[in-house]
């Protein structure tokens, strides 16, 4: 059928065109970060230059500046530190809670599950003012521990929600068999369920970590000194000196901090979608 063939070719071209346009629009800022990172200042700040080309030789000066003259490495370290501890706290709180809701609590499990889901919808922009007083009361102003205390407010509900779905998908017969073989309920949870659920737990680890790197409002409110910043606040606020934007270093920092998060996220994307779709996909 020639007509069908040409139709197929036409729709392929349209699809390729649509994808090209959207990919360029969505990824362009990151491409621009890349270009800007390697351009000399004379090149960046001369209006007659075509900004799409290297009008002067590419340079590593911005990267050198970023890694030696700023606290960028320190901010990466702070973010990793907070991320790791928040992951541990999140796992300790969320894994047992999700199991309890998925398996043990019956109808109450469902209701509490919904309540947990609703707390995920409470945004930091609603809580940061009272929490700033709580932090001050605890003497944690300008301390990374303030963030470690507060970040589980959004990582725990999301993780419980994600893990509940995961535990529910494991057949009960497995635990039944283990318990007939003499394990207690808690023993079955520790020795059977947790090992089976490694991939679900790994998903929680990745997403807790990415949520920590993406957070902005609490870090902006609680942390004031330059050396205690997270990447999300340090880069946009402390790489600007007065009114001077160090665009080369800024863009390099944005790109370096974004890419690892993006890679991790992509690996676990499907599970993450499952967490958001609330059973609306079957």
């Amino acid at each position: 059928m020639p007509s069908k063939f040409t139709h197929g070719l036409f729709s392929k071209l349209v699809r390729a065109g649509v994808l090209a346009v959207f990919t360029i629009l969505l990824a362009f800022p990151f491409y621009w970060m890349l270009i800007t990172s390697f351009k000399q200042n004379v090149d960046l700040y001369t209006m007659e230059n075509n900004p799409f080309l290297f009008n002067a030789k590419p340079t590593l000066d911005h990267l050198k500046f970023l890694f030696t003259e700023t606290r960028f490495v320190r901010w990466l370290g702070n973010t990793a530190f907070v991320g790791v501890i928040v992951v541990v706290i999140t796992l300790i709180l969320a894994v047992p809670a999700a199991y309890a809701l998925a398996r043990l609590a019956g109808r109450w499990g469902e209701r509490l599950g919904i309540a947990i889901f609703l707390t995920y919808l409470v945004p930091p922009t609603l809580l940061f003012i009272p929490l700033s007083r709580v932090i001050a009361f605890l003497g944690l102003q300008d301390s990374l521990w303030a963030l470690i205390l507060v970040y589980p407010t959004f990582t725990v509900p999301f993780s419980i929600w994600l893990l509940m779905g995961f535990f529910k998908s494991i057949p009960r017969e497995l635990e039944d068999a283990a318990m007939v073989d003499g394990l207690t309920r808690f023993g079955a949870f520790l020795k059977l369920m947790i090992p089976i659920s490694t991939s679900g737990i790994l998903t929680v680890v990745i997403f807790t970590f990415t949520l920590v790197t993406q957070e902005f409002v609490y870090a902006l409110t609680f942390i004031s000194s330059e050396s205690n910043q997270m990447i999300g606040t340090g880069i946009p606020i402390f790489l600007v000196r007065g009114d001077v934007y160090y665009w080369g270093a800024l863009m390099a920092a944005c790109l370096i901090a974004s890419l690892p998060v993006a890679f991790l996220y992509n690996l676990f994307l499907d599970r993450f979608i499952a967490g958001f779709t609330v059973g609306a996909v079957k």
Partner: protein, 304 residues
């Protein structure tokens, strides 16, 4: 969600309330103390004269709300919050549906395309926003350069994207859309792949064209998932302050201020905790409505 349907009394299905309470309690306690507590504290502050540095608190009734409602910046903030939330979501729904159709069938390089498309959503938004600040720079904006090169503007005469109220509003709206499009796209994509292939194929055999198949069969079948994408998109945009804070800090002259950014400006930067708390409470009504619809979607899909 089929687990609860057949309640076979097995050992594993036996209820043990004490153990489940013990396993759930730590998380519950934490959430009550650090979400529930602060939420009540926010309400309490909104009816007080709390300021950073003041140790004494007085109950002032509705005074904060009265002065907020009279302030022009607050009215602008409400208006902007709604414009950004609804406006960007319209852009998102149209774009994400088109993109999801284009991405539906496998092709070479789909993994790479998906990675690139997802970047705005997965990269920390404060960093994405600072990238846009450079693209929209008042002097060295590449967008202005292109427009000058195409002779839309004379050199040195391109508009200040973030310096004029209308353009600043449009810029913030589009950056919000830019961020949410990837999120909605992958959610819609998941919805599309869940539709059994034979249904659109049968429609095609019956002579329905591409658009008719999409609008009369596929998109109606995707209604629950589309609602999920829209509801989350609305919530993320409505409660966000990062994009505005980085791009314009609410300016010029409060013209891009939103409820969260105004709450930050008054409550934290201006030390007026009471006013800040009162403003952020205005987020609650819309959040409650959105949460209600979210639960309805979840429940309906569970019944099916």
């Amino acid at each position: 969600m089929a687990v609860g349907s057949a309640r076979v009394k097995s050992v594993g299905g036996a209820q043990s309330p004490f153990l489940s309470a013990a396993m759930f309690a730590p998380a519950a306690l934490y959430i009550v103390m650090l979400v529930g507590g602060p939420f009540l504290l926010a309400i309490f502050y909104a009816f007080s004269d709390a300021r950073i540095g003041n140790t004494e608190l007085h109950f002032v009734g509705l005074e904060n709300f009265r002065s907020i409602l009279q302030s022009p910046s607050f009215r602008l903030a409400i208006r902007n919050s709604l414009i950004f939330t609804i406006g960007s979501q319209i852009v998102v729904v149209v774009s994400a549906n088109i993109l999801a159709i284009a991405l539906e069938n496998a092709f070479r390089g789909r993994g790479l395309v998906r990675f690139l498309i997802l970047l705005p959503w997965v990269a920390p938004i404060s960093l994405g926003a600072i990238g846009w600040k450079w693209l929209l720079d008042s002097i060295y904006s590449v967008i202005s350069w292109v427009l000058v090169a195409l002779h839309f503007y004379k050199p040195f005469n391109a508009p200040m994207w973030l310096g004029e109220p209308r353009l600043a509003i449009a810029s913030v709206l589009l950056v919000h859309s830019w961020r949410i499009i990837p999120f909605s796209t992958v959610i819609l994509l998941a919805g599309r792949t869940a539709i059994p292939k034979d249904i659109p194929e049968a429609a095609a055999v019956d002579g329905a064209g591409f658009w008719r198949t999409q609008f009369q069969i596929v998109i109606p079948m995707m209604r629950p998932i589309l609602s999920v994408a829209v509801l989350f998109g609305l919530i993320f945009t409505f409660t966000d302050m990062t994009v505005v804070y980085i791009l314009t800090a609410g300016g010029p002259f409060d013209s891009t201020q939103t409820l969260p950014s105004l709450a930050f400006a008054l409550g934290i930067q201006g030390s007026d905790l009471a006013a800040g708390a009162a403003i952020s409470l205005f987020l609650v009504p819309l959040l409650v409505i959105l949460a209600y619809f979210m639960l309805r979607v979840a429940r309906r899909s569970e019944v099916n």
